[in-house]
Symmetry: C3
Subunit: 179 residues, 3 copies
Amino acid sequence: MDEHNDNNRSIEERLRAIEDRLEIYNLIAAHPPSADTGANQFVHAVYTEDGIIDLAGGKHASGNEAIAAMVQEPGHRAAIQGGLAHFASLPHVQIDGDTAVVTSYLQILAPHPTAEPVEVPNHGMSRGFRIHRVGANRWELVRTQAGWKIKRRILRPLDGSEPAREILRAALTACEDRA
Amino acid sequence: MDEHNDNNRSIEERLRAIEDRLEIYNLIAAHPPSADTGANQFVHAVYTEDGIIDLAGGKHASGNEAIAAMVQEPGHRAAIQGGLAHFASLPHVQIDGDTAVVTSYLQILAPHPTAEPVEVPNHGMSRGFRIHRVGANRWELVRTQAGWKIKRRILRPLDGSEPAREILRAALTACEDRA
Amino acid sequence: MDEHNDNNRSIEERLRAIEDRLEIYNLIAAHPPSADTGANQFVHAVYTEDGIIDLAGGKHASGNEAIAAMVQEPGHRAAIQGGLAHFASLPHVQIDGDTAVVTSYLQILAPHPTAEPVEVPNHGMSRGFRIHRVGANRWELVRTQAGWKIKRRILRPLDGSEPAREILRAALTACEDRA
């Protein structure tokens, strides 16, 4: 929110801040395709060696080797075979030098196994999809020689419990200087 | 859509247009976190003093004091406790000097209270979430000394009625010079 | 992902790459409004004359005349009257000179015709919306004198079948040089 207040920045600095932002958008946009195809090599490449993933329900892994292995677990592969889709909202991005925090919402979708099929004109019959989970994501990023990488990802369910709201509130503090 | 047709713009003007766009993305991305945490101070800061919010069903408020108070109403707080999630699509942004119009879709989600729990492999059991509302948002923004702020927000339900389509059509008129 | 590795690019080249990206975001963000209002003139303008649309279920059209006509078909208009909403995720964008590939997720939503109405505090009663389809989109774009246009769009259902995963995997290959 401070882009226009800092008039001392050079063109190079401003271009770099913009390119950082766009690179980060692509990094976040690549998460659903990697999760929904079990792309362990990609996951390995976008987490730092000491990266941490901290999902809801106590699912946790340390190190990009272990994190990459998660998307190839038999259970995860079974979910993919069943039609898993991660769906990402417009993320909020705060860059501070060589680190960044991204806050985003995530839906985890799967085909509904039993709902009565419904027809939508011109769009055929379908049982439709269920929203299995909705969560708040906090992505802590660092700049590396190989581009922006994920140092820590935290996901908490938006089911009325406090931890998800803590993640969301943290996105707003960066904007408070607006007031 | 006219970025490449205007070759007379200076580097400064082009950088500023880009920074405006990215600042606006973050402003729109901050809406769901503020709505889902009842962040009245943040809402106060991002609306102009004479800002207007015009939601579906006749819910309406004038002035950033009144708009900020909405997210702290007992009913809204009860919705948050129940697991409210605003989910934002990729927005369409048209900037025209010191004003801008953003058109976006919004889902309002909440945990399903009664659906039969379903298991997704590796993702546990869940009753899932309902999409309570889907709407088209029109955000009218103005540039201020403290960054881009919201002067008027209009939300209309995408339930087949005309007002939502009017909002969506207005986003396309800015692109018509492409033809 | 290579923005910072190519230090030989001029300011002009860097600005142009950024402006390309932002123009493409608006092009993709305009798809749901055009589909949900039947905006055939807009669709005609954003596809190349020899453009191709290749939707799931064998729905296919060649040429921007035929593609534009699709959103005015009686069946599509009936779906719009019923409350059709296309909902777009954050897209992944790979630009390579005068061509680009965009990978995105899409939800096709419609009001639930029969579900038991549920009340969400402060948000009224609603039968809610169904997710009728979830798909992976591949958009192949080309730069023209009139801005970026769509040369081919492929949509495949995320129902566990292979073609959607092929689309998603292709988005990740562009990132593999990160490893």
